[in-house]
Symmetry: D5
Subunit: 96 residues, 10 copies
C-alpha cells in the first residue's frame, strides 16, 4: 500500500552541532536502508526547503508509523501523510 | 526536470452532466497520452478525495505550464506546484 | 486497517429539494449497508454541524476510496482522511 | 456523552530526557486507567505523527476537562474537542 | 451543560427576498421561544457582522444539535461549537 | 458596553514553576476582583484547553484594554476581542 | 469611541449591472453623509483591492453596528472590526 | 516606486464564453500598453496556475490602484500588493 | 503617500527585563519624534493586544522601510503593510 | 529558467550578536556574487519586513536548491519558491 508523505525538518538553532550532525548522518543511513528494502519507494528534495516528498510502499498504516517515528530526525520533523490508491487513468502497473 | 503537482478537482454542480462527462473522458485520454510520452511520470489518486498527486518530468516550467493549462479539467482544478531535485540520500538514479 | 474520516456536507441551496432529498435518502441506505458489512465501523454526528466523524475498517486505501466516492453525497462533501494505527497505550484489542 | 478529542504532543527538545520519559510513562499509566473506567472509550494513533484521535465517554464537559487537564503531558499538548451525538444513520446502539 | 456557539449567517444573494424574509422572521420567533425555555441562555450580536455569539444551556450535545439544526437559517449558517465548563475563578454560581 | 473576549494561556515550559504559580495565583485574585466590580461579567473555561471565554461589561475600549493588559498572565495570553451589541431577537434586558 | 474597520467588497458577477450601480451610488451618498456627521472619521482605499480601511468615531458598538449593517453594500462586504483606544505614545489629542 | 503584485484570475464557469474571451483579449491589449509605458515593469506567468507575478513601476499607490482596477479582468482577480524598496545588497541600479 | 501599518509586539519572556524596558522606552521616544515630524500620522492601540494600528505619511516605500526597521522594537514585531490611496467617497482633503 | 523566491528572515533573539553579524555580512557577500554571475537576477526588499522578493535565473531546480541552501542565513529563513514561465502578454524578450 502506498502513502504520500511530506517531511519538513526544523532543527532548533540551539541544538549542539555535533548532535545535529550525528542525527543527520543516522537519518541518511536509515533512509538508504529503507529504500533498499523497498519501503521508502521514492524520495525527492523540495527545491529551496529542508523538506522532502516521499512515497512509501508498506503493508499498512502501522508499518508506516513504525518507520516514520523511528527516523532519527522524527522529533524535529513536521509530517503530513496521505494514503494513495491507483488512479483510474494510470498506465503504470506498479503505481498501485 | 521533476515537478511535484497536486490537483484538486471541483466541478460545479450546475455544470451540465454531459459536459462534465465529456471533460472527464477527454482528461482521461490526455492523461494516458502524457504518461506514454513520459511527461506525466507518476499519477496517484488521493484516497477519499477527487484529487491526485503527480510527478511530471519535463524540460522546465514552460513545458509544465503548457501541459497543465491544456488539461480539459484545468478550469476546475486547484493546482499546487513544487519543483523537485535529487535528494542527497536517494539511491534511485532515475529519481533525479 | 482503520481510517479516521471527517465528512462535511455542503448542499448548494439551488439544488432542487427533491434531488437533495433523494440523495440524502440514498446516503442513509448506503451508510446502513456499509455499517452492516463492518466497513463503516463508527459513525457520529458532530454537534451543531452537518458533518460526521467516522472510523472505517477496510482492506486498504483503495477500498476506502471506492466506498467514499460511491457515496451519494460525495460530490457535496469535503472529506479529510487520516490513517490510524494501534496506540501503544490502547487496551482494546479490536481497536487495531 | 461522547466527545471527539484530538491530541498533538509537542515535547520541547530542551526538556530533560528523564523528565520527558517520566511524563510519557505516567501518561501511559493514566491512559490505561481511564480506558479501564470507560471514560477514554477509544484511543488511536494517527499514522506518522505524535498524535492521537480519541473518543471520550463522560458525564459532560466538566468531567472531560478535568480528565484532559490532569493528563501528565497536558502542558505539551495541543487539543481540539468536538461534542458528538448520535448520527441518524447509525446502527450501533452504544455509539450514542 | 453550557455550550459556546458562534453563528455566522451567509444568505446567498440569489435567494428570493420573500424566502429570505420568511426565514429570518421564523428564526426570530424560534430564537425567542428557545430563550424563554432557557435553552438559549445568552444571545449577542457581533458588531459589524451578520453573526451572533450565544451560550446554550442544554442537557447535552444531542439536545444542542437538535436545536441548532432545526433553526430556520441553519442551512445558511457557519457554526462553531465549544463545550464550556465552570472556570475555577468564576464567582457566579449559575455560570456552571 | 459588552465585549466578547477569548483568552488562550501559553506558559513557556522553562518559566520557573514558582513564578508561574505566583502569576496564576495573582491572576485568580484579580479575576475575582473584576467579577465583583461587574467588569468581568461572565467567565467560562473552554473544555480541554487552558483557555477561557469571557464577557466584559466596561465603559469602552480603553477600560477593556486597561483591564486586560494589567492581568498577571497577560504576557502569556493570546487574546481575541469582539465588540458586542444587543441582538434584535434577544429577550434579556440586561444582555445589552 | 474609535473602531478600526476593514471592508472588502465582493459583488457577485451575476448581480444585474443596474442593481450593482445603484448600490454603489447609494453607498457613496451614505459614506459622504456619515463622514459629514463625524461618525465615519477616516476612509482610505487599499491600493489594488476593492476594499477600504476606515476609522469610525461612534458612541459604542451598537451605533457602529447600526451604521455598518445599514450600508447599501453591507450584504456584499466582508467586514473586520477592532476596537481602538489611545496609544500611550500618541501625541494627537483627538486620536483618543 | 516599485510594487510587487500577484494576480490570480478566477473566471466563473457560467460567464458566457464570448464575454470571457473579450475580457481576456482586452486584458492582453492593456497589459502590452502598460508594459510599453514602463508602468508594468515585469510580468511573469506562475507555472501551473492562471496567475501572474508582476512588478509595477509607478509614481505611488494611487497610480497603482488606478491601473489595477482598470484592468478588464479586475473583477475576477484576487490581488495581493507589497511595496518594494531597494535591497541593501542589490547591485542593480535600476532595481530601486 | 500613506501606508496602513499594523504592528504586533512579541517580546520573548527570557529577554532580560532591563533590556525590554530600555527598548520600550526608546520606542516611545522614537514614536513621539516620528509623530512630530508628521511621518507617523496616526497611532492607535488595538484594545486587548500589545499591538497598534498606524498610518504613516512618507515619501514612499523606502522611507517607510527605513523608519520601520529602525524602530527599537522592530526585531520583536510582526508587521503588515498596505499602501493606501484616496477613496473616491472621501470628503477629507488631507486623507490623500 | 526563472524562479520566484520569497525569503523571510527570522534570527532568534538569543543568537549571539557577533554570530548574527557575521552571518549577515557573509550573506551580503554571497548575494553580491550571485547577482554578478546572473543567477540572482532581481533582489528587492519588502517594505517593513526583514524579507526579500527575488527572481533567480538558473539551469533548474537543482541549481536553485544548491544556491538557496548554501546561503549563510538559510537556517533562519522561511522560503517559498514558485517556478515562472513566459507570460503570453509579456513584451520583454529576456523575461523568459
Amino acid at each position: 500500500m502506498l502513502f504520500h508523505v511530506e517531511m519538513e525538518v526544523r532543527i532548533p538553532h540551539d541544538l549542539p552541532t555535533e548532535r545535529a550532525d550525528a542525527l543527520k548522518q543516522a537519518e541518511r543511513v536509515r533512509a538508504v536502508e529503507l529504500q533498499r528494502t523497498g519501503a521508502w519507494r521514492h524520495l525527492w528534495r523540495v527545491a529551496g526547503r529542508y523538506a522532502n516528498v516521499s512515497i512509501f510502499d508498506v503493508s499498512g498504516a502501522q508499518e508506516l508509523h513504525d518507520i516514520l517515528c523511528s527516523l532519527p530526525l522524527f522529533p524535529f520533523m513536521e509530517i503530513r501523510v496521505a494514503p494513495l490508491c491507483r488512479h483510474p487513468s494510470s498506465i503504470r502497473d506498479d503505481d498501485r
